[in-house]
């Protein structure tokens, strides 16, 4: 569930963000508690707490005192904006680099993308 790419709490925060983005965690709905995240992912509760705090700092989650953590209104839109901004660097650039290494020219690449879509 976690790899060597970075701190576990950052990876957990990214996973929770993806679930907010795909609507698994709707806005203004409660998410799992720190201890539930810890038990589910088999990690130290302090590590799960760090992930939740990171998301509070990013404005993705907010705390209702005595109740728990909730998805912030507008979180989904904000996350899609961020991901759209990073899309070129994270997906398009590596795609073009790999295509160039394989000698696939631009028209062929476009055709491939269109084929995959249909």
């Amino acid at each position: 569930m976690f790899d060597e790419s970075g701190p576990i709490f950052v990876q957990l925060a990214d996973q929770i963000e993806r679930r907010v983005l795909d609507g698994t965690y709707p806005e203004d709905e409660q998410v799992a508690s720190t201890n539930e995240f810890a038990a589910f992912h088999r990690i130290n509760p302090a590590t799960a707490g760090k992930a939740v705090n990171l998301l509070v700092d990013r404005g993705i989650l907010y705390k209702r005192r005595g109740v728990g953590m909730f998805v912030a209104p507008g979180a989904r839109e904000r996350l899609s904006e961020q991901r759209r901004a990073a899309f070129a660097a994270e997906y398009v650039r590596p795609l073009i680099r790999e295509a160039a290494a394989l000698g696939i020219d631009l028209p062929t690449l476009v055709t491939l993308i269109e084929q995959e879509r249909s």
């Binding site: 970075g6 701190p7 576990i8 038990a39 990690i43 302090a46 590590t47």
Partner: protein, 312 residues
């Protein structure tokens, strides 16, 4: 937060052998701290001192603010199962479970019973006749069910199968979340147990080599790979913890964080950067074979972790 364990300049010598050579660190209350390092690094000796079973040659150990040696208050709050724990000849698990509450004020019989069932432990077999894995499971049952404010596990997984280890990790996290306490555990199964830990202390040759959060430990080094020539050029003015060369290719574990400058240099040198696991960091710390514990020296031993290593 208050401090559960505080160790100051602890020395321990056995004749001409120095087991602990100026160890200092502190563990905050209600954390899970991993004690890591190679066999013979001093982990078990250090745990025995924290449990009040050994007297220091020099320096001080404080547990909940007191010297644990002969201190009934501290000892009643400590649970330490050695990996070579001995029991009377015909002593059965059922005997152990019935006397344990006398030693541990917070003993939870229900938790003990459910752990015994999860580990499928025979209650009527003499503990002495149990397999290595079963004896480990007994130690885990006592360690967890005691709910001691300070619980020490010395390589608690020896001989346990994969299912039993998963049971241990799950039950530890579950019970720790509900009943926070200070847990100190030594392990060689670093990849497997890293997610349980919040802090790590890495010992090598009786000295503390790393004492920080798990995240900081991981970020304290990075790996670089490429052609031998390119990697050598890249690491020329950097401190390497370990290197590995095979057929014109080289990888090196480099001390320090992978900051922007490192990324730029790596791009420039045509070498590939990657982050390292906690296990790689610990293996690199213990990889120097000369007698000077890596004080700025470039090391050339291959990173070789030994996950099933014998007890220290």
């Amino acid at each position: 937060m208050s401090i559960a364990i505080e160790i100051t300049d602890l020395h321990r010598r056995y004749g001409s052998t120095t087991a602990l050579d100026g160890v200092s660190f502190a563990v905050e209350e209600n954390t899970v701290c991993g004690l890591l390092g190679r066999n013979g690094a001093g982990k078990t000796t250090l745990m025995a001192h924290i449990a009040g079973q050994e007297r220091p040659s020099g320096g001080a150990v404080r547990v909940f603010g007191h010297d644990p040696v002969d201190d009934a208050t501290v000892l009643s709050q400590t649970s330490f199962i050695r990996d070579d724990q001995r029991y009377p000849d015909d002593f059965r698990l059922s005997h152990l479970l019935s006397i344990a509450p006398a030693f541990h004020r917070r003993w939870d019989a229900g938790l003990a019973a459910s752990l015994v069932s999860d580990f499928r432990l025979p209650t009527k077999l003499a503990i002495k006749k149990m397999s290595r894995g079963q004896a480990s499971a007994v130690a885990i049952v006592v360690g967890l069910a005691s709910r001691a404010p300070l619980t020490i596990f010395d390589e608690p997984y020896l001989g346990l199968d994969a299912t039993a280890r998963q049971v241990f990790y799950d039950r530890l996290l579950e019970d720790y979340a509900e009943h926070p306490r200070t847990i100190l555990l030594s392990t060689h199964l670093i990849d497997e147990m890293e997610p349980l830990l919040e802090r790590v202390v890495v010992l090598d040759r009786g000295r503390v080599r790393l004492d920080c959060d798990v995240d900081e430990a991981r970020a304290s080094a990075f790996a670089v790979a490429g052609t031998t020539r390119a990697v050598q050029a890249f690491v020329a003015d950097r401190r390497t913890l370990s290197t590995h060369v095979i057929g014109g290719l080289m990888t090196a574990t480099v001390d320090g964080p992978a900051d922007d400058r490192v990324r730029e240099d790596a791009d420039h040198a045509g070498v590939e950067l990657s982050s390292v696991s906690l296990q790689q960091v610990v293996a690199a710390v213990g990889s120097d074979s000369d007698s000077h514990a890596g004080a700025g020296a470039a090391l050339t031993a291959a990173v070789a972790a030994d996950p099933e290593g014998a007890r220290s």
